[in-house]
Symmetry: D3
Subunit: 158 residues, 6 copies
């Protein structure tokens, strides 16, 4: 209805029928960022052990959340993920931690939501671990960077 | 360590001990937004039944995710939420759907992560339901608006 | 709205705010039944080890489901259950297995949904374990038998 | 043992081995009903926004529960569902809301339990949202309507 | 890195990419044991109904845990298990209950972690049910007995 | 029955009623170990980044599993944990990694199962991350070291 593939002809939510779709290799990469204050930025980027554990915890949280996507997003299909990775890099001038999540799977629907969910939960975990030092952190720019496989073809964000 | 309450003296992650903290009424409100193209914006804001079900689905997803926060964010304490609500409003000029999640609880730690998680998953659900029409949607500006209760006192975002 | 405590003034779903409610001891008991064919009824009621394991499996499934209620029913509050039990009895003339689930908790809202969910999942488990022998089984008469605690007082089904 | 495919030769529960089964397209449709009092029936069927959100919430709960079936029913296999839908219709004379859940999948075992679970949890959600107005509601007649695919062939309830 | 398949070239955890791996039939069998005092051993091995329900509960817990493995072990892939069984035997002289879990699946990675997790949770469940009688029980010797399928070939513990 | 607090007078499993128990501060500490070959031991204990991420991943897995205990162990009560920590130390001569999990909570039942579950899943995670290098690793000696709070008083393993 009106282009909403998850709504039937009465405008009601349902899981799209993918019975007829082929199982193909699919790939998605999403990113997002959290902007923090100077104290948090220094602690994350210059700390020693501490730094390691904040990002390691966020990475694990993101990977586990990608696997949990069909439990979180009501109309997502359960999929068997072939690979999930979560990586971080820093933008010093903006005091931002950028998170990128890549997902690969072989299945009937794409991996976008898994990658977007992995990024979101990894960033929420950084927020959680740093919120005693900065309550004004902002999570943003969560978007799909690239997608491949399936009949809608290749997508690459500008 | 270095202000990270979730890291012990060796920089290792652990759940903060809240044994000695009092159970008090706590409140948190977070917001975020998803920016969409004109076709999606019209479909969500002017549709009839369709509109209802997209936002109803996202609202339920956000509420259920707030309850799931301790399963998603590794070091969050399990909390008994007294109330969760998820609401949406629109900014036509920016083609944005704004989501606000409010959480109340009586417990030993705050409700910020639950509110932030509720917002994030509600917005991811809108993304999922509209992604066939627009792959360039961006989720952003997820942040804590207000927080009350507990010894760190009242916080109100600028 | 219109007596729906889970809908706000705009008719939108949200978790009821129980912040102001007292924590009291609460009790609920629900029942339901599954009607099976003669072969299944005999196998369940007269079998030896088999019988034990069908009902033991259903009992465990019901208890675990009662604990999972807030994950299943979108607007249910997470509650700390003090006790859950699931019991079965037989009505030979009707070839029915009757399931009763009792739940006790100390909290701000009632235990009805936990008891109803425990019964439902216990009966679904019996269905699952017997469906190779009878696809025509019917689950029914799932209802609240008794409820106590909280400001709405005592309820006893007729 | 005694026709129980989920019990081994000692009468002990285990997940049936489906290694040798072919992956085929499978379909199941189940239904159930909740009988309510006149006030609830009117509120659900004649309300405006309210009506929409009660049923939308129950529909989402049913779809999510169908995906959760292997977590709830101990001996169910995890399956990749191709499609889940949950629909409602009304029987005015009996003050009943009828729920139908359809499930499609490509896999080694059938979709009956997913459809039965989807119906059960959708009806429990209606119970939850209306229980402040009527504690005497009864959920019943939960049964398999149709099943197709797999070696046991087509089943259609009388 | 250093032989750790779950760590990338920077030593960071991620889910191994199995995109290129073939789907093959895989098998794993793991075992473990719990050593208890004489009173518990007698109650479990000589009891009547009681005995049945302790082991039946542990068996169901182990089977359900095997299905939950990807939720518990951060870097495990979600797999569709074809079969899970959990069995117990007794060693009187050592007052030990031995648990064996077998898992079969058709997929791109092995079933070892599912079998190891099934054993661990079954034994933890016995511990839980007997801990009022003996706090000194010890769970041990949890190990892989056999593994087959996949390119690493057959493994049989000495 | 026969000292099994989780079995009723008919020998059937149920969650013990803790309605009448006081909420008190409770503490539990459990330990376990995994014995590995020399290559794995060196990689874990002498590696640089790698070492950090193996143990960090296992630590997070253990903490998250402790919170999941009532989902895994059928008759465990849901509890609100005040603190969970998971730590590791090494025994070079035995090529063993020892894991200790501490849990604190304020509630009506003890924290033993949470601590035991945290240890078990942390060790399973190490197994998972190292199994490409050594399939013969053995997890053992999982036991309660100390327990405090509640009417059964203080317990300290010999």
């Amino acid at each position: 209805m009106d282009g909403f593939t998850h709504l039937n002809e009465n405008g009601q939510a349902n899981m799209v029928d993918v019975t007829g779709k082929a199982e193909t290799a699919r790939y998605a990469r999403a990113e997002g960022r959290i902007t923090v204050n100077a104290a948090v930025f220094t602690a994350i980027t210059e700390g020693s052990a501490a730094k390691g554990d904040v990002l390691a915890t966020a990475r694990i949280a993101g990977i586990m959340a990608a696997k949990k996507t069909p439990e979180l997003i009501p109309l997502c299909h359960t999929l068997l993920l072939n690979k999930v990775s979560v990586d971080f890099r820093f933008e010093e001038e903006k005091k931002a931690v950028i998170c990128v999540c890549e997902v690969r799977l072989t299945g009937k629907t794409g991996a976008e939501m898994e990658a977007m969910t992995g990024v979101s939960v990894a960033l929420l975990t950084i927020y959680d671990m740093c919120k005693a030092m900065d309550k004004g952190m902002v999570i943003g720019n969560i978007r799909l960077l690239e997608k491949d496989g399936g009949k809608s073809g290749h997508f690459l964000a500008e």
